[in-house]
Amino acid sequence: MMMMMMPTMMRRMPFLFLFIGLGSLSAVFSEEEFNPRVVIPKPFAPIVDPEIGTLEEADGKVVKDEELVLGVVVGREARAYPINTLTGPRREIINDRLGGRSIAATW
């Protein structure tokens, strides 16, 4: 049992020291080990300059009343991103501009 726990304990030790040393919870919080797993070998191309329509153009065609949208307001501009067009790995992130700012629409 102890043998099995050793690698975990060793990995955690530096954080423990940081924690004791700085007395800060944030060190434990943010300095975690980053060990991502590759699922798809190559990144997808970013989605840039997406097509944007007006409420009237989209209403009932791109998106229906009961469907979900991701809504955002930046400055004086509002935009809706229909969730049913954002599912699947190729559509996770939309690089867009709104209200004079560069935004990444994702949820």
Binding site: I40, E51, G71, A78, T85
Partner: protein
């Protein structure tokens, strides 16, 4: 929802093809840094340690959104799903509305939000308000401290007859956190970034997270 300008450079993000703690890793085309989608933070690459500014996005129905924002524009793209994310309603136990403030994280299970659509909570030194829209699946978070005539006041909210009001002044508030009627008219609550997330992924990212429990 993130702002994507870092040190005056506009970044273009995409899906890296990697996962970390069950959640997406993004990559930016400009520096090839790897970013945690949930934390909004560069975990590797030249921008390592940089955190993106989170913008408050809301998930709600199209009907509710277009009524609240009659000048809204809309992303026009082909459909990828016929009817995704009825899941929030059908399996609320799997989702939380996650709130992170400085070094604190707190999760509000959708089950709790459905049972109690207006939550006045205290979270560390912060007084927060969670409002769940029963017609959509939108949940929003606000700071419920306001300044009235240079005086700091903490308000308690409730919903009666479909209207959101504060108990102190009985003023009426919109779902977007703006006071529309009563003595506080014109005052806006500061919206806090609340992220709908899988409960499991949230707990993995924020092992120290508090989890809101309904009062008994």
């Amino acid at each position: 929802m993130y702002a994507r300008k870092v040190n005056d450079q506009e970044l273009n993000f995409s899906v890296s093809g990697m996962l970390w703690r069950r959640s997406l890793i993004m990559i930016d085309r400009e520096t090839k840094s790897l970013w945690s989608h949930l934390l909004g933070k560069a975990m590797d690459g030249t921008l390592k340690g940089t955190t993106l500014e989170t913008l408050p996005g809301v998930i709600t129905t199209w009907k509710a959104w277009k009524e609240a924002q009659p000048k809204t524009s809309v992303l026009v793209m082909s459909r990828t799903a016929r009817e995704f994310v009825k899941e929030f309603h059908e399996q609320p136990g799997r989702f939380v509305l996650g709130l992170r403030l400085l070094h604190r994280a707190k999760a509000y299970p959708f089950e709790a939000l459905i049972a109690q659509p207006v939550i006045n909570d205290t979270f560390g030194e912060d007084a927060v308000l969670l409002v769940y829209d029963p017609d959509g699946t939108g949940g929003r978070a606000f700071d419920r401290r306001v300044k009235v005539k240079n005086e700091d006041r903490t308000l308690q909210f409730e919903r009666g007859k479909g209207k959101l009001t504060d108990r102190e002044t009985r003023s009426v508030w919109s779902e977007e956190g703006r006071c529309v009627e009563g003595v506080l008219k014109g005052i806006e609550l500061r919206e806090l970034p609340a992220i709908p997330s899988f409960a499991k992924a949230w707990k993995q990212f924020y092992p120290e997270t508090e989890i809101y429990k309904l009062p008994k």
